[in-house]
């Protein structure tokens, strides 16, 4: 599929270059975030009626996993309100490059320039998820902590260190943004090579240097590009383009494949399996263990989730890849192929989260009306929605949508695995494909069995 440059359309270019539409959306979302925190702390403690719980974990989460990531990749990051207060202080301005910011502006430590911290942060959230997803105060505290952490890091380190290296959400959005049908790339690298000022990285009067610490000319994948559009504003040669492209082409990029990103795909797959079992399964003991933070049962649950995500899945995938290589007498190639082949699991990982979220979101979507009608639990009935009774939506259709997502994800993963195998010289793509198929069967059993 040939790329289509969206920014060649004057209206699209104008909207993306202007700060106003982005700022307006960010301001609304920042207001929503602060209200969400407030409702979590002051509103009703009943999760399924609390505005914060319902609008974060049903409306926002559903939109993110089912629409935003598959279609726009890191589109959410371009308007996310969490880094804004810190970024505004760091820049000393809200709108454009005009003020003098505050902060130490240190460089992020070299040893931490990877997503291991994001993997750990997501693991921590996964261990506490049964509480975070159901207790309004816990959701409020998590959002508040993220806001404070982003602000603190903005005052100590340069640019968006929180988003790039710590945000537990940003980590998996980056991983799955490789599948998105949009990308931001330079049009002609020769122009960048001849441009000594590199204003896309250093900034100028039109905009800031890349907040995500990326030199746009080196962009080969979506993972670290936050789609903030600053480079579109700072490039004096109009050499940046937002393109429509074939989904998933980043997976075939032979450069920049890393162990931390490979592990992210296992962490996400493991969490999807764990969440499906805990939240959608019929096992009350498992739910109680996940909810009883601090109890021995919870400790067992947390260790099991971590072992699955960080040990069992990557370990069994490694053994599968090695076994395939051993059968074809190509062990050295197999060891080298482990990380590249793990990228083949990325489509299945997103599909697993889509399948899990379909069930979770549609079963609970009817809480949206009442939570909006009485967002602070004061007995209000705004727009007459307070009386809307709970009912799962599209319960006949959701299983087929889950089957479509998982079967499509498996097909995509199998195709990507085969291509990566050809690319790396790995002789037995059937082995990792069988691994993906087995994982898909497990998910199908959890969701439909």
């Amino acid at each position: 599929m040939a790329k289509v440059e969206l920014t060649r359309f004057a209206a699209v270019r104008a909207i993306l270059r202007s700060r106003w539409p982005q700022l307006a959306l960010q301001a609304v979302l920042l207001g929503g975030l602060l209200f969400t925190i407030l409702s979590g702390l002051l509103g009703t403690p009943v999760g399924s009626h609390n505005f914060g719980i319902v609008y974060v974990w049903i409306a926002w989460w559903g939109s993110l996993i089912l629409v935003l990531i598959p279609l726009l990749g890191r589109g959410w990051c371009s308007v996310c309100p969490i880094p804004l207060p810190g970024e505004w202080l760091q820049r000393g301005a809200v709108h454009g490059p005009s003020g003098k910011g505050i902060g130490l502006n240190l460089r992020w430590p070299r040893r931490l320039r990877n997503i291991w911290l994001q993997n750990a942060a997501f693991g921590l959230v996964a261990m506490l998820s049964a509480v975070i997803l159901t207790q309004p105060a816990a959701t409020a505290w998590v959002l508040g902590l993220m806001l404070v952490a982003a602000l603190a890091l903005s005052l100590v380190f340069e640019r968006r260190a929180f988003c790039r290296y710590l945000c537990p959400v940003g980590g998996f959005i980056g991983l799955y943004s490789q599948l998105a049908p949009v990308e931001l790339r330079v049009k002609d690298r020769a122009i960048c090579a001849g441009h000594t000022e590199k204003t896309c990285y250093t900034g100028n009067g039109e905009g800031y240097g890349c907040p995500w610490q990326v030199f746009p000319a080196s962009l080969a994948k979506n993972t670290a590009c936050g789609l903030c559009m600053e480079c579109l504003r700072t490039c004096p040669y109009d050499n940046l383009a937002l393109n429509l492209r074939a989904p998933g082409v980043d997976l075939m990029q032979p450069t920049g494949r890393r162990l931390d990103e490979a592990f992210k795909s296992f962490v996400m797959l493991g969490s999807a399996v764990a969440y499906s079992a805990v939240m959608l399964g019929p096992w009350g003991g498992l739910k109680a263990a996940a909810y009883g933070v601090g109890s021995p049962a919870w400790l067992g649950y947390a260790l099991a989730v971590l072992a699955l995500a960080f040990g069992l899945l990557p370990g069994s995938f490694y053994l599968t890849v090695i076994a395939g290589g051993a059968i074809r007498r190509s062990l050295t190639t197999a060891r080298r192929a482990f990380v590249p082949l793990a990228y083949g699991l990325v489509p299945l990982g997103l599909a697993a989260w889509v399948a899990f979220s379909l069930s979770f979101v549609f079963a609970n979507a009817s809480y949206l009306g009442p939570a909006l009608a009485d967002p602070l639990g004061g007995g209000w009935n705004l727009a007459g929605l307070a009386g809307v009774s709970w009912r799962p939506l599209m319960s006949g259709l959701v299983p087929w949508m889950q089957i479509g997502a998982l079967a499509g994800g498996l097909a995509w993963s199998s195709g990507a695995t085969r291509r990566i195998a050809v690319q790396t010289g790995y002789p037995a793509p059937g082995a990792p494909i069988a691994f993906s198929a087995a994982l898909t069967m497990a998910l199908l059993w959890l969701l439909l069995g």
Partner: protein
């Protein structure tokens, strides 16, 4: 002439897989037998779980479901059968229905009962779960489609 014939041949595996997928989706499962038996199933709702969490019925069986609660008010909504009942503590509620759909059906608590309420889920299994088998068949076909019919990309230099 050769290229005209070659093009459809390239798509033959996809056509075969597509037909197999259609067969998996649309071939009907065995008919549900007419009502043959009667059974009472007691389900206890307590502390965000149904006990038992999984209940089984034979296709065509006449089921009387009794829901009791020993902590707070709980509800039970059975998906696809579109049935619900509510039980207050110490006051069991009953409903009777014929298990005329086979498969695996979630039932959820329909009355907000506390923190884990949205995840208070049980499963009713009636006869064979053809949807799961169809899903497994479709997924295996999808894996084959991905692995066999896509042309590999050129080896990277």
């Amino acid at each position: 002439m050769r290229s005209v014939l070659a093009t459809p041949r390239r798509f033959m595996p996809l056509v075969v897989l597509g037909l197999a997928a259609l067969a998996i989706v649309f071939v009907p499962g065995p008919a549900v037998p007419s009502p043959s038996g009667e059974r009472m199933i007691h389900v206890e709702a307590t502390n965000f779980e149904f006990l038992p969490g999984v209940i089984r019925a034979d296709p065509g069986e006449r089921i009387t479901l009794e829901l009791s609660s020993n902590d707070v008010v709980h509800g039970l909504y059975l998906e696809k059968y579109d049935l619900s009942l509510t039980a207050e503590p110490g006051q069991p509620a009953r409903l009777t229905f014929i298990a005329d759909r086979s498969g695996s059906f979630r039932f959820r608590c329909s009355v907000t009962c506390g923190a884990l309420h949205p995840f208070m889920i049980g499963i009713l299994r009636v006869g064979p779960n053809w949807l799961l088998w169809r899903a497994i068949g479709l997924s295996l076909l999808a894996a084959l489609a991905g692995a066999l019919t896509l042309r590999p990309w050129p080896k990277s230099s």
